[in-house]
C-alpha cells in the first residue's frame, strides 16, 4: 500500500509538471503585409482602395445624399426618404441634421479609402518589391487619397489632414480649405508622373488621365467658391488639354453610352468595375427606379431640370418617360398590365433617369440591378472642363471645338465632324455650365458645379412650384457645405460647421 501511494504521488507530480504553461499567444495564424515584399503583396493592398471606392459608388443615393440640393436630383416626398429630403429641401446649414441617417455613409467611406491609401503610401517606403510596382502603387494610392479628399472638402468644407504619418488620437484639428487643396494638389502632381499613360495600364487600374482629370477638377474648384483663386483656372484648362492631347479618349454614340456594352470604353477616364461572377452588383437601377418598377425611388430628376433639358437623342437617352409597371410573382420580375404608366401618372409623378437603368438586369434578383461599371470621370467631362476653364481665361477655337464635340454627340451626330446645324461659335461660361449639367445629369457633378460657381440660390429659385418636396428655406451660402456627421464630432475635437468652416 505504501509503495502504491508513492507511485501514485510520483504520477501526480508528472501531471502537475505538465500543467504549466508558457502563456504565450499563438500568432501563427495572423497575417501581416508590413513588408510589401512582392508585387502580389502590393496588389493585395491596392484591392481595398478600389473596392471601397466601388462600395461607395455602387449605392448611388448614399453617395449623393449631401448633393440633393442640386437641381438634377430630387427624391420621393414621402416614405423613408426623410434623410435625402433633408438636403433636397435645404434643412441644414447651422449645424442641424448632423445626425442625418445617411450623411455618414460617404464621409466614412472616403476616410476609409484615405486610411487604406495612407497605409499603402507609408508601407511602400520600406517595400522591397520591384521599383516599377512601387512607383505605380504610390501613384495610385496618392490619387485615391486626393480624389477622396477633394470630394470631402467640397461636401463638408475643410477637413483634418490625415496622411498616415502620425498615430491616430482623435484630437486632430480641421485644416483650412486652402491647406486641403494644397496637399491634394501635391499628391496629384506626384500621381500623374508615376501613373501609366492611358492604354498602357494593367486591366482595371487607374491611369495618368484620371490623375489629370481630378487635378483639372481641383483647379476649377480652387478657382471658384470658396477660395476663388483665379490663377488656378488656366491650370485647369491645361490639365484637361493634356488629356485631350493624349488622343486616346473618345466619345461613344449617345445611344450606346449607357448600355452594358458601353462600359470600360475609351470614353471612360476611370470607372469602378463589378465582378464577372456577379458577386457584386451595381445598385443604380434600383435606386433610380420607382417603386412601381421595383425600385426604391431614391433619386429622380427635378421637374424644372427635365423641362429645361434640350430635346434630342441625349434627352431620350437620359430620361425614361414611360414608367415600367412590374410585379414579382414568386420573386421573378414580371410586367404588369399595362406594362408602363406615363410619368405624370406614375407613383412618383416624375420622369426616371434612363441613363442609369439602361443596363438593368431584371433576372438576377427581385429588384432591378446592373453589372455595368460605374463611371467616375468621363471624357465628356474633361472636354467641358477644358471648355469652361478656357472660356474663363479666353475662349479659343479648341475650347469651342471641345464644347461642340459634346453638343454634336448629344444630338446623335458624329462628334468629330463639324456640323453647322448644332455647332456653336461661341459660348458663355454659364452656357457651358448648363451644358455640363445636362451632359452629366445625375452623375454626382451638378451640385459641385453649382456651389463653386455660386449658382445654388439662383437655380433653387427656379424650382417648379409643383415639386412635391417643399423647400424649408431658400438656400444661401450657409447651405453650400453640409454638416460633419455627428459621430465624428462626438468622438473628436472637430468644430462643427458653420463655426469650424475655415477657408484659408
Amino acid at each position: 500500500m505504501k509503495y502504491l501511494n508513492k507511485i501514485f504521488l510520483i504520477t501526480l507530480m508528472v501531471f502537475i509538471c505538465h500543467s504549466c504553461s508558457d502563456l504565450e499567444e499563438d500568432t501563427s495564424s495572423l497575417l501581416t503585409l508590413d513588408k510589401l515584399a512582392t508585387e502580389g503583396d502590393i496588389t493585395a493592398s491596392l484591392a481595398p482602395l478600389y473596392r471601397e471606392t466601388l462600395e461607395l459608388f455602387k449605392v448611388p443615393h448614399f453617395l449623393r445624399a449631401a448633393t440633393y440640393g442640386g437641381d438634377d436630383i430630387t427624391t420621393w416626398s414621402a416614405g423613408n426618404k426623410a434623410p435625402l429630403r433633408t438636403f433636397d429641401r435645404f434643412d441644414y446649414g447651422s449645424g442641424e441634421n448632423a445626425d442625418n441617417a445617411w450623411l455618414a455613409n460617404a464621409w466614412d467611406s472616403y476616410w476609409k479609402i484615405i486610411y487604406y491609401s495612407n497605409t499603402l503610401v507609408e508601407g511602400l517606403k520600406t517595400s522591397t518589391a520591384p521599383e516599377n510596382s512601387i512607383g505605380v502603387a504610390n501613384g495610385e494610392a496618392r490619387l485615391f487619397r486626393a480624389f477622396s479628399y477633394l470630394n470631402l472638402v467640397r461636401t463638408q468644407g475643410n477637413v483634418p489632414v490625415i496622411l498616415g504619418e502620425d498615430k491616430p488620437t482623435g484630437k486632430e484639428q480641421r485644416a483650412t480649405v486652402l491647406e486641403n487643396y494644397q496637399h491634394i494638389e501635391a499628391d496629384l502632381l506626384i500621381a500623374e508622373e508615376l501613373l501609366p499613360a492611358p492604354g498602357s495600364e494593367s486591366a482595371g487600374r487607374v491611369t495618368s488621365s484620371f490623375a489629370k482629370a481630378v487635378l483639372a477638377d481641383l483647379y476649377l474648384t480652387w478657382g471658384g467658391w470658396p477660395v476663388k483663386d483665379a490663377s488656378k483656372i488656366p491650370l485647369a484648362a491645361s490639365k484637361a488639354k493634356e488629356i485631350i492631347d493624349t488622343q486616346y479618349h473618345t466619345l461613344l454614340p449617345i445611344d450606346e453610352l449607357w448600355l452594358l456594352s458601353g462600359e470600360n470604353s475609351t470614353e471612360s477616364i476611370f470607372s469602378v468595375r463589378v465582378a464577372d461572377d456577379q458577386s457584386v452588383v451595381n445598385n443604380y437601377p434600383s435606386a433610380f427606379s420607382f417603386h412601381q418598377a421595383r425600385g426604391f425611388s431614391d433619386c429622380f430628376p427635378e421637374l424644372q431640370f427635365f423641362y429645361d433639358f434640350p430635346e434630342g437623342p441625349r434627352k431620350e437617352a437620359t430620361f425614361l418617360l414611360d414608367i415600367p409597371n412590374r410585379k414579382v410573382p414568386g420573386g421573378v420580375i414580371t410586367p404588369k398590365d399595362p406594362p408602363t404608366t406615363p410619368w405624370q401618372e406614375s407613383d412618383r409623378q416624375h420622369p426616371m433617369y434612363q441613363k442609369f437603368v439602361a443596363a438593368e438586369d431584371l433576372t438576377f434578383s427581385n429588384r432591378p440591378v446592373s453589372f455595368r461599371s460605374i463611371e467616375l470621370y468621363r471624357y465628356a467631362e474633361v472636354l467641358l472642363i477644358y471648355a469652361e476653364a478656357q472660356a474663363r481665361v479666353g475662349e479659343n477655337a479648341s475650347s469651342v471645338e471641345a464644347l461642340n464635340q459634346v453638343i454634336r454627340r448629344a444630338a446623335g451626330l458624329p462628334y468629330l465632324t463639324p456640323n453647322t446645324d448644332v455647332d456653336v461659335t461661341t459660348a458663355t461660361v454659364d452656357e457651358i455650365i448648363a451644358e455640363k449639367g445636362w451632359e452629366l445629369a445625375g452623375e454626382y457633378k451638378r451640385w459641385f458645379d453649382l456651389v463653386r460657381t455660386e449658382k445654388v440660390e439662383e437655380i433653387a429659385a427656379l424650382r417648379d412650384p409643383s415639386e412635391p418636396v417643399e423647400l424649408i428655406r431658400q438656400p444661401t451660402k450657409a447651405q453650400y457645405i453640409v454638416p460633419i456627421p455627428i459621430n465624428s464630432i462626438l468622438l473628436s475635437e472637430l468644430v462643427q460647421n458653420p463655426e469650424g468652416f475655415k477657408i484659408q
Binding site: N5, L12, F15, I16, C20, S21, L23, E25, S29, L30, L33, A44, S45, L46, A47, P48, R51, E52, S77, A78, G79, N80, G95, A98, A101, L103, D108, W111, Y115, T119, P160, I162, G164, P168, A203, G204, R205, R273, A275, S279, V280, H291, Q292, F296, K327, P329, G330, G331, E345, F364, N366, I472, P485, I486, N487, S488, L490, S492, L494, Q496
Partner: protein, 1007 residues
Amino acid sequence: MKQTKFEKLNRKLLTFILIVLCSSMASYSQNIISGTVTDESGTPLLGVNVIESNTQNGAITDFDGKFNINLNKNPSELIFTYMGFKDKKQSVSGTSTLQVVLQEDFAQLNEVVVVGYGTAKRSDLTGAITSVSSKDFDEQPLNDVSQALQGRAAGVQVTQSSGEPGGVYKIRIRGANSITGNNDPLYVVDGQFVDISTVNVNDIASMEVLKDASSTAIYGTRGANGVILITTKRGRAGKTKVEIDLFTGISNLTQKLDLMSPVEFAEGVNYSEGQDPNDPTNPFYTTSELDYLRINGGEDWQERLFQTGYSTNAQITVSGGSDAMDYYISGNIYEASGTVVDQKFKKLNLRSNLNAKLSEKFKIGLNFNVGQKESTGVQADLGSGISWDPTTPAFDENGNYNFNSIKNVASGETNPLVSVQNNSRNNTTDQLSINGYLNFDITKNLVFNTSLGLNKSERHFNSYAPLISSANGRANVDNYYSTKLYFTNRFTYTLDINENNNLKIDAIQELVKEESNTTQIDANDFFTDLVTYKDLSIAGVQLASNSETNRELESFLGRINYSLFNKYLLTASIRADGTSVFQKDKWGYFPSASIAWKVYEEDFIKNIESINNLKVRLSYGQVGNQGIGVYGTRSRAVIDELINYPFNGSLTTGVAPSNRVANPDLTWETTDQFDVGVDFGMLNSALTLSVDYYKKITSNLLLDTQLPSFVGPTRQYVNSGEVENKGFEITLGARFLQNDNWNIESILSVSRNRNKVLSLNDGVTSLEVGAAIVPNLPVNPTRVEVGLPISTLRGYVFEGVYQLDEAAEGTPGTAKYKDISGPDGIPDGLITTDDITNVGDGNADVTWGWNWDVSYKNWNLNFLLIGSEGNDIYNFQRARLMALGAQQFNAVHADYLNRWTPENPSNIPSSNDGTEMLSSQFIEDGSFISMKSIALGYNVDSDFLERIGVTKLRLYGSVENLFIITDYTGFDPESTASNAKDDADVGIDYGSYPISRSFIIGLNIAF
C-alpha cells in the same frame, strides 16, 4: 519564475504527505451497533450519515432507515447528520439497538454548501452567498437553469430577453462592472467551468450564487461578475429509485399591439402622400378602393405572424447506490415551438454522475453530461413583419404570395411570410462535458483532490434562402468547434488546534486551455433549391473563411479559514492568474479577506430562546476580468470579401489594414468590492432575514473605445476608467403556518443596484459604445457618460407638435423639440445635435421576487411574482410603426389615427420630416409586476400508491406569465432587443421576440 516557486512548494508538501502517510496506523476492535433513524413522524430516513465521533468510521442508513456500525471504541459517541435535519449526538456503549429520531432543521445552519474550490458549513460562511435549492423550484415546470434563479436570489437580476423557444436570459449579479467587457457570471457545475445552456435544470440539486469578493476572489480574473456554483444531483445509497417527469403546455402572446385597420391605414397613406381619394388618377387609394377595404378588410399581420406555441418535456431519472458507490443517470427531452412563426426548438440531455469510494482514503467520481440543442425553422422578422402593408393580403386569389405590397406602401420589404415559409435553417449545438476527480485523504488532516475536465462544444449553423426569397439562392454554413480543458489540483489541510481554534488551508493550482476553430462558407447563385446548404458545390459563388484561436489561463490559489471559539471566523484568499491574451502584463493578483461574527453563539443571545441565528459578515477583496478576446491587444490585417476587387473581371484578394489600433500594454481590469451583511433567524427560522450592502469599484476598465472614422482605425482597447456599483439586497423568509395539514412559506427578495460611471479615459466625459440594434441610427440611442449609469438613453426632448398659432416657430404639424444648447453651450434657437440629451435610464432602480409556497394536505400551490421598478424602455418598435426610420414608408400604429391635422390639433406629428426617432416621444416607463409562474399540484395519497408500487405521484397545472401589470405599450416590458451579453445598451425594444403566456400540465411519478 512563479511557476517554479509553486512547484517547489508542491514538492515540499508531497514529501510531508509521504511522511505522514507512513505513520498512520490504527487498531480495531469488534463492537457492532445497529439501529433505525426516523423523522419526528416516524418515517424512516434513507441515507443518514452515522459517524463515530473523532474517527473516520461511519455508515449510512438504508431504505428502511437501518444502519450497522462497527465501533472503534466502546463506549463511544455517534453523530447523526442528515441534510435538512439537525445533527444529533448520541452516546453508545455495549451492544445495543438504537432508535434515533432526528428533528427537522429549518435554519439548516449545519447544511454543507458548496463554495469556490471546496465546501463549508452554512454557519461558517463569511461571504455573501445566496443558495437556491431544488426544493425551491421543483414545484415549477422549468426548462432552463436561469428560470430557476429568476426572482429567487437577491442581487441576481435575471431577465428573459427573448421569448423564443429555448429562451435567452440575461443574468447580472450586482449590476454590470464592465462597459464593453463581458458581464456574464461564471458558471461552475460540479467544479467545472461550463456553458449552462445545455445543463438540464432538473438535474440540479442546488445552486450557490457567490456575490461578494471574498467568495469570488478565489476565481480571480473570472470572478468579477459573480459566480454561480451548480451542484448536480447524486444517487443515494439504497434501493434504485426511478422518477419520471412529464409536462406539456401551450403558449400564446401576452398582448398584441394596437395597429390601424386596413382602411384606416389606407387613409393615412393618402394623407401622407397628399393624395385625394376622389381623384381617379390617385396612384394610392381611391374612394372605391377604400370602400372595398372597409368591407373586405385586408390582412392582420399580427394574426399571421403569431401562433400558439407548444412545449413538451420528458425526463427519466434512475438513481441509487450502496455504501461504496452511488449513481445518478438522467435523460431529458424538451421540445417547443414558439409563438412567432416559425421556429422550433429541441433539447436533449443525458447525464451520468458516478461516485465511488475505493477505500477509506480514496474516492473517485466521474460526471458526464452530453447535450444537444437544435433550433430549426426561420423566425419571422417582427420589426418589418408587423409593420408590413395591411391592405395587401398575404396571398392572392390564386393562393400565391402577394410578394410585395400591391401599392408599394408601408415598407419596401418582401411579404414577411415568404422567407419564413420558404427559408430553412438548422442550428445544432452539441456539448459534451466530462469531469473526473480523485479525492485522497492523505492523512486525517490533509486531503488532496485533483480533477480533470473536458468540455467540447460543436456548433453547426446552417441556413438556406431559396430562389423565391433570395432571387438566386443563398446558403450559409457555419461550423464552430471548441475544446476546453481544465486541470485543478487542490490540497486541503485542516487543523483543529484545539476546541476553540480551527484552521483550514487550501492550496490550489489550476490550468485552463481553450482552443477553438471556425469554418464559415457563404454560397450563392444556386440554380436549384434541391440540395440547399447540404451541397454548396453547386453554388456559383462560394466564399470560405476559417479561423483558429487558443488561449491559456494558469492560476495559483491559496485560502485560509480560521475559526476562533466557533464565534469569530476569518477567511483570506489570494489568487494569481496568468493569461496568454495579454502581451506584457500577463499576471494579476487578487486578494480578499472577510470576517464574520456568529453573534448567536454568544451567551447573551443564546439566552434569547426565540433567536436561533444572528451573524454579521464583513468582506473586502479584488477580482479581475480579462474581458477581451484572443488577439484583442493586436491590430490584425483585414481579410474580407468586401475588400476584394475585380481588376480584370475576377476578384483579386485584398488585404486591408486593421480597423483596430494595437495596444500591447493592456492588462486586467480590477473590481474592488466591499460587502457588509447580517443574517438573522428566529423561532427555529420561521422568520429569517438577510441584508447585504455592497459597493464595487471597477477600475482600469478594459474599454473597447471608438475613434472617429476620419483617423482610419476606429477601435482601440484601452485600460482606463472606473465604474461604481452599489446597492443592497434583502431576503426575507417567513413560515407562516406549519401543522399536519398546512404549510405556508414565503420568501421575498429585493435588490437595488445603482450603477455609475466615475471616469473614462483622460479628459473624455462620454463614450459611444453600444451595438447598432436599430438600423441606420446615426447616433447611438445609449451612451456611457461620466456621472451617469452605463447605459443612459439619449435623444431630443419631445415637446409635442407645432400648432397653428405657433407657425412662426415651426411648420404646424411637425414635431417640436426642446432647445437645450448650442455650439456655445447655451440655447441657440436651433434644434441641432447639441440638443440631444439624456432622456432615460434603462437600468431598474429596484427589482424583486416574491415566492409563495402553500400546502394543504395533498395540495400545493406555488407562485412567483417578480417586479422591476424605475427602468425606461426606448420603444423603437413604435417609432417604426409610426413610419420613422429608413425601412418604413407609412405609419401602421393606431396612434397615427390621432395625427395632427388643422382640424385635430393633437400632439402626434403627422409627417416624418423633422421627426426624430431618438426622442423622448418613444421613451416609456418599463416598470412591471408579473405573475411569473403559478403552479397548483396534487400529491396522490401514498396509501393508495403503495398498493400499486409507486412511491410518489404528483399531478399539477401551471401558468407562466399569467399577468403583467405595466404601462409599457410594447408587447411586454421584459423582452428587449438588447443583446443579452451587452450592458452598454439596455432597455431598447426593436423587433424583439415577445415573451408568452403558457399553460402547462404535468405529472411526477416515482417508484
